[in-house]
Symmetry: C2
Subunit: 235 residues, 2 copies
């Protein structure tokens, strides 16, 4: 690990708890209008449309668009499926940006603060720049640089997302450590020459999924949280 110079972070699920945050934002807007439902399930339903929404871009059927745009399109689907048709344009815009207002897991600020003294901290998320910047300002996430989909004009797991991030920092891929709670992201990063750190986030998909185990893959590092990651990296 001595050659690592930059840490590249997945964000949704790895850094922030999207499920609780989106649930809270949806409830805040929709409950006063008389809607009642299980809000975390609403959040999960919205999130479930994320991969298919990206597929058209990844498979070349559609030019690159920012994640805010995909979130808006998938929000319209989730609302329609629930018979919610009375939101104003301003409300749709605001609820789409629920993803800008997510809270980090409790260990994140401690870990990042320690790691920042020793490494460049980059986001390598499929979120767009405004989203990542607004989230960081609100939550106090101390990123050094925002890379990822909007910079690369490519979503993970496309090769360009990883390749262009390393190149932007003038680093070899082996000098970059991809940090993620998702094995598929780490496998793709490893395929481009990155080192890999798995962080276990059992609550990402809620209590019903809390007992899913650790992936069988052998990543370079596998830890419980960001404080443990800082320990492992001597930060």
């Amino acid at each position: 690990m001595t050659e690592i110079k930059a840490l590249m972070f997945d964000v949704f699920g790895t850094v922030v708890d999207w499920r609780s945050g989106v649930a809270r934002e949806a409830e805040t807007m929709l409950a006063p209008k008389g809607y009642a439902m299980d809000w975390p399930t609403f959040a999960s339903a919205w999130r479930k449309l994320y991969v298919p929404a990206m597929a058209d871009v990844i498979q070349g059927r559609r030019p690159f668009v920012v994640l805010d745009q995909l979130h808006r399109e998938t929000l319209m689907q989730v609302l329609a499926e629930r018979g919610i048709a009375d939101l104003s344009e301003a409300e749709i815009y605001d609820l789409t940006r629920a993803w800008h207002r997510l809270d980090p897991w409790p260990d994140v600020i401690d870990g990042l603060t320690r790691l920042k003294a020793r490494y460049a901290l980059a986001t390598l998320s499929n979120g767009n720049i405004a989203l990542i910047v607004n989230m960081a300002k609100r939550a106090g996430l101390p990123w050094d640089v925002v890379l990822g989909s909007e910079f690369a004009r490519a979503f993970k797991p496309m090769n360009e997302a990883y390749d262009r991030a390393a190149r932007a920092l003038d680093l070899k891929p082996a000098e970059c450590l991809m940090v993620a709670a998702h094995a598929d992201d780490l496998r793709a990063a490893a395929g481009r020459g990155y080192k890999t750190a798995y962080v276990h986030r059992p609550m990402e998909f809620g209590p019903h999924h809390a007992d899913r185990g650790w992936p069988a893959d052998r990543f370079d590092i596998a830890v419980e949280n960001f404080s443990a990651l800082a320990d492992r990296l001597g930060a």
Copy 2:
């Protein structure tokens, strides 16, 4: 100024004192090899080749390349003009990156720290991402996001450099304040709808230019330094 949401900073000359820093780095490498010269003049000669080096990209005769690459090419010119031909590849690489190791003017950290609590702080420099990130890590510059030439694939004063930076933050140009010590940069930003803040840096080009006056343009703000900018913006 109440609608301002993000501050976009020019970097060389506005945030950091490139002339003293490049002079120091050149002297550190070349003096032990027996070269003697006026090092600030060496720095100014290198800097003077920057605008012509960008011109081929700006005028479409050459695809976009990062500033590190232009700095390398112009360094080779400056060295050749002085009969310096004994640097190794590693030394050329290291001296090219003198621009990554520049110190901020004395008011910068105070001003940025105060402004960061209230605004998104973006770099909108012609420097490439690795350069801006390495400089920030070394000097403690608290940027929220690195935009500018490598993100836009366009150098200032090309329209795309300003347009794409505002769009990346999902802001209207009038919500962005361009902060620079150079009237031409501010005029170009104003032409794209930005608000403008001129910062007077009389020592940028050294003591012989220290008495150049303030520009006649009427910018939205004109201040002596970043602490005064924070005062003006209520930060």
